[in-house]
């Protein structure tokens, strides 16, 4: 029930970093995904594969080790280290009777790019959450269907990573 007391939106937005067809490549890509602590682990795994396949049209496969030759990306998503504030603790203690507004980094996503088994660079992105935690928000839980979901923000970081690696000449 407490989850229904939260109205949240996430950034980055997809329209800030959409799919760029100029970066599409007819190459293979192997990748691996660690979800340090996210809830939607299996969903994000599928999402990652779908988005990477848009860019690497030849073959995109999951692999636990980098191939001897070729591209490999290890994706690491974890909750951002953050100590709860006094207000957040009060809100939780009161079961969100006391409202609490949060605007903070929620997740960190690292993309380790390997070429021919050598780690070339790690790209780090933040997924930021703005949320209202309040029991009075329960009847308005449906607003969450209209806000930017965490998975869209995760997708936006994938697009940003591809673009940044391309701009640096690594892809």
């Amino acid at each position: 029930m407490l989850l229904g007391c939260v109205i949240a939106t996430y950034r980055p937005l997809l329209n800030e970093t959409p799919f760029d067809p100029n970066v599409q490549q007819d190459r293979n890509l192997s990748y691996f995904y660690y979800a340090g602590s996210t809830i939607s682990h299996s969903y994000d795994t599928e999402l990652l594969k779908q988005v990477l396949q848009e860019y690497f049209t030849q073959n995109t496969i999951v692999a636990s080790v980098p191939p001897e030759r070729g591209l490999y990306v290890r994706v690491y998503q974890t909750r951002s280290p953050r100590s709860p504030t006094i207000f957040e603790n009060l809100s939780q203690f009161s079961l969100t009777v006391i409202p609490y507004y949060c605007d903070a980094v929620k997740y960190i996503v690292d993309y380790d790019l390997y070429i021919d088994t050598v780690l070339k660079k790690t790209y780090r992105y933040e997924i930021r959450e703005k949320s209202l935690n309040w029991i009075g928000a329960l009847p308005f839980f449906w607003v969450n269907f209209l806000t930017n979901h965490q998975s869209n923000a995760f997708t936006a970081t994938i697009h940003q990573f591809i673009r940044d690696a391309r701009n640096e000449g690594l892809l």
Binding site: M1, L2, L3, G4, C5, F32, Y34, A35, G36, S37, S42, V62, A63, S64, V65, R74, Y76, T78, R79, S80, P81, R82, S83, P84, Q92, K106, D110, L138, P139, F140, F141, W142
Partner: protein, 221 residues
């Protein structure tokens, strides 16, 4: 009056809809079978029990691992990996990359959305360090732990303080120091772990993992 009833009904329906939550877990998918994603993928298991005074040991359901990658202080890694699943007395990380792993903390539920975190001391973390070769299943050992005092009261060693910070985003309630009561890391308990893993977790259908386990079980001590 009718309009008021309609409004109340709609508001109630909306409120109740917010209370519905589908929780995806192994309990919802009892027939899920684990298989390696490729020939090199590994699995890691550990047995951890926390002793609660007057109640005896209780099984720990969530463990935090780190993959030890080269850095100045190897035990202070920046990335943690939460366990995937648990079965019988063991907690697992499935389909991980081969390499060296250690357990650094575990957590227990402390309410609807929060957890109490228990940080392992440096010496205990070092005991759990295990190299897991490609295509195998690593066993970090069996540990029985006692809940120590809260971190705010006693402070922790530098490794515990490091992971207290790294794990602070995990909806934590309280942070405790975990003290070791006993540990077992011999071949007998390892084989018991492998046997239970294959039968109970992999359901004897773990592909290359099951084949590897059978090979290990046939090997004499």
């Amino acid at each position: 009056m009718i309009h008021l009833k309609i409004i109340c009904t709609v508001l109630t329906a909306l409120t109740l809809s917010a209370c519905i939550r589908t929780q995806l877990s192994d309990r919802n998918f009892p027939y899920h079978t684990w298989q390696p994603i490729d020939a090199s993928a590994v699995a890691i298991g550990i047995s951890m029990k926390q002793v609660v005074p007057f109640f005896g040991p209780s099984r720990i359901g969530r463990v935090y691992f780190v993959r030890l990658e080269e850095r100045e202080e190897i035990l202070k890694q920046d990335r943690f990996i939460r366990s995937d699943t648990s079965s019988n007395d063991y907690v697992y990380l499935m389909n991980a990359q081969p390499g060296r792993y250690a357990a650094v903390a575990f957590s227990l539920p402390a309410g609807e959305l929060s957890w109490d975190l228990y940080l392992l001391q440096k010496a205990l973390i070092q005991q759990t360090v295990t190299t897991v070769a490609p295509g195998t299943i690593g066993y970090l050992g069996e540990f029985i732990l006692l809940r120590g005092l809260g971190m705010r009261k006693v402070g922790g060693d530098s490794i515990q303080n490091h992971y207290a910070s790294i794990l602070s985003g995990e909806y934590l309630n309280n942070v405790y120091v975990a003290e070791l009561l006993s540990s077992t890391q011999d071949e007998q308990t390892k084989k018991q772990f492998l046997r239970v893993t294959d039968e109970e977790l992999l359901k004897n259908s773990g592909g290359a993992w099951s084949a590897w386990i059978q090979q290990q079980l046939e090997t004499p001590y």
